[in-house]
Each structure stands twice: as structure tokens, then as C-alpha cells.
């Protein structure tokens, strides 16, 4: 596949990077990334992946754009209020880069559809807002041997880790089971600084681009944490857990399962 002149110009700053070059750009253009959750984390991640020229981007979400989303979900704008997020998001991505094929997956990601959904992609980005979804995505990706990026944000804090099959711990190694519903404060109760979603979502996009092109060292075997009030990034080494119920030696979880609904980070509506 040869680049067209507009492609050479559009991606020139990538191509200039010696670690990236035309080879990296071609890999990116031939790759498929799925973003689960077209919200705070998913917005910057999707926009940078589209701008970067990832060939196919899937957006999965069940919600419509709400006024309380716009403080941080930059994929959506005020005229999009009430629209399904996957529709509004797809329009934004196509405007950024019409070369990208955008697939909108409207609906909840659940145990009975997650395997099929992720099977069409090379890399998954978890931009969801609840532990039920985060554990489901982890389990499905581990079982399918699919690389993915986990991230979570609350208040002025964020965290991130990358799972590569056979090359390090999974999310369940760090947190073996979801917390009970209401045990952990939600964003709706606790709030989140909008730009935090930008910082962590961009880091997820970087991890996706690195994994899809084979550049550098992905964030495997580490949890990166960020505290905005002190501007402290920490890269914490996390070991594997040989008894991990999904990626361990004798896994008890061999297919995705819907957990008990856990504390959701539902930011719609007024704070109770």
C-alpha cells in the first residue's frame, strides 16, 4: 500500500519519527481499536486515535449525551445533547479524519456480547465507568488473549495499566474481585476534574498506538498513578498473581460473566 500525497502530509509528523516512520503509520492504518465507553476517557482516546489514522475505530456505549457530560467528554458538543454518544462520537471522529472507518456499537457491553464485540479488534481501551464493566472487559480480553488498556479516574486521581497476553498481570491480578456495590465512592458522589479524563485518556491512546505499532515498552507489569494536585506520576510495579482466577495457572473464570452491579460512576443528573 502506497501513501497518497494528502496521507503523507497528514501523517508527516508521525513519519518523521524514526521509531515510527512509514512502517508504523502503515501498521496503524491497518489496525482496529475498540473504545468501550464514549465518555471522559474514551473522548480523548478516540480523538487521538482517529487523528493518528488508526484504520478502524469502534465506539461502544449505551448512553445519550447529557449536559453534565460536557465538562469533560470532549467528543461531544452542546448541539449533540440528547444524541446517542456513539452517533455523536462517530460524527466527531469522521470530521477529524474521514479516512478512519468508525463503527458505532450502540448498547450495553455484557457477558453475552463482549466476546463477539472484541473479536473484531486488535486492541481494546476500557473507558467505562463501573467495576462490573471493568472486570468484564478484563476477563473477556484475558480469555480472548486480546491486549487492552485499563484506566480509572476519580476526583483528582487517575490510574492506568496495560495488559498484554502472556506478558504480565491482568486487572484481576491487582484487584481479584469487584468491590461490593456502593463500597467505593462514585464520581457522581465524589466528582472528577475534567482534564483528568484528558490526561489519562491520552495515555490510553499512547498505549494503544505503541502496542499497535510495536514501539517502545507498554505499561505491562505496572500500574501508573497520577495525582493532579501534586502533579505526581508514579509507576508502581505490580507482580502477576499465580492464583489469579482468570489469568492464573488454574483459572476458575473461563468465560465472561456479568457481575453483581457494582458502584457505577454515573455522572448524569444532579448530585444527590
Amino acid at each position: 500500500m502506497a501513501f497518497t500525497d494528502p496521507q503523507l502530509e497528514r501523517y508527516s509528523r508521525h513519519i518523521l519519527l524514526k521509531e515510527f516512520g512509514t512502517k508504523g503509520q502503515k501498521k496503524l492504518m491497518a489496525s482496529k481499536a475498540l473504545i468501550v465507553g464514549a465518555g471522559g476517557l474514551g473522548s480523548p482516546a478516540a480523538m487521538y486515535l482517529a487523528a493518528a489514522g488508526v484504520g478502524t475505530i469502534g465506539l461502544a456505549d449505551n448512553d445519550a449525551v447529557d449536559l453534565s457530560n460536557l465538562q469533560r467528554q470532549i467528543l461531544h458538543s452542546t448541539p449533540d445533547l440528547g444524541k446517542p454518544k456513539v452517533e455523536s462520537g462517530a460524527e466527531t471522529l469522521r470530521a477529524i479524519n474521514p479516512e478512519v472507518e468508525v463503527r458505532a456499537h450502540q448498547g450495553l457491553v455484557k457477558a453475552d456480547n463482549v466476546m463477539e464485540l472484541i473479536s473484531g479488534y486488535d486492541f481494546v481501551l476500557d473507558g467505562t465507568d463501573n467495576f462490573q464493566a471493568k472486570f468484564l472487559i478484563n476477563d473477556a480480553c484475558v480469555i480472548s488473549r486480546k491486549p487492552f488498556s485499563h484506566a480509572g479516574i476519580i476526583r483528582f486521581q487517575g490510574q492506568l495499566m496495560t495488559y498484554l497476553p502472556g506478558q504480565g498481570p491482568c486487572y484481576r491480578c491487582v484487584f481479584p474481585k469487584p468491590p461490593p456495590p456502593e463500597a467505593i465512592p462514585t464520581c457522581r458522589q465524589a466528582g472528577v476534574i475534567g482534564a483528568m479524563a484528558g490526561v489519562i485518556g491520552c495515555l490510553q491512546a499512547l498505549e494503544a498506538i505503541k502496542c499497535l505499532t510495536g514501539m517502545g515498552q507498554p505499561l505491562t507489569g505496572h500500574l501508573l498513578t497520577f495525582e493532579a494536585l501534586t502533579m505526581a506520576f508514579r509507576k508502581i510495579k505490580v507482580p502477576g498473581r499465580p492464583a489469579c482466577p482468570v489469568c492464573g495457572q488454574n483459572p476458575s473464570i473461563t468465560e465472561p460473566q456479568d457481575q453483581e452491579p457494582a458502584a457505577a460512576c454515573d455522572l448524569r443528573g444532579p448530585v444527590p
Binding site: 473507558g127 467495576f131 476519580i154 486521581q157 490510574q159 508514579r234
Partner: protein, 68 residues
């Protein structure tokens, strides 16, 4: 005895346990926190009587469920 708690050097009484450190550090929701000492996970940290030793590196890993 000095420990490195979340990367920061701090002094504690000799031989304090993981459970005692969780209380002294006022860790929020300690029952849901993952603890690693010298890059190894500690089982059931809230009730862990594992004594810590000079120079141990202790990390608290917290659930963060937000994203949307």
C-alpha cells in the same frame, strides 16, 4: 524503622504489621485496598500480621472506577 510508603520515606515503630500500617496511614476503605510489599502482593492485608522490616517498600493500590 524506616519504610518507603508509596515512595515516601517514613519512620515507624519496629516490626509494625501490614494491618497496623493501614491504620496508621489512615487508608480509606482499607478492606478494598491491594497492598504490595517489595513488589509482592500481601494476602488479606486488612488482617495481615506480617511484620514489616527496615527499608520495605509498601504500595497501596486503590480501586478507581470512573471513566465516563
Amino acid at each position: 524503622m524506616d519504610l518507603f510508603v508509596a515512595g515516601e520515606r517514613k519512620s515507624f515503630g519496629d516490626g509494625i504489621t501490614v494491618a497496623e500500617l493501614l491504620a496508621l496511614e489512615n487508608v480509606a476503605n482499607p478492606e478494598y485496598v491491594t497492598v504490595a510489599v517489595n513488589d509482592e502482593f500481601v494476602d488479606s492485608p486488612l488482617g495481615s500480621e506480617r511484620p514489616l522490616a527496615e527499608g520495605d517498600r509498601v504500595e497501596f493500590l486503590y480501586f478507581m472506577g470512573g471513566g465516563i
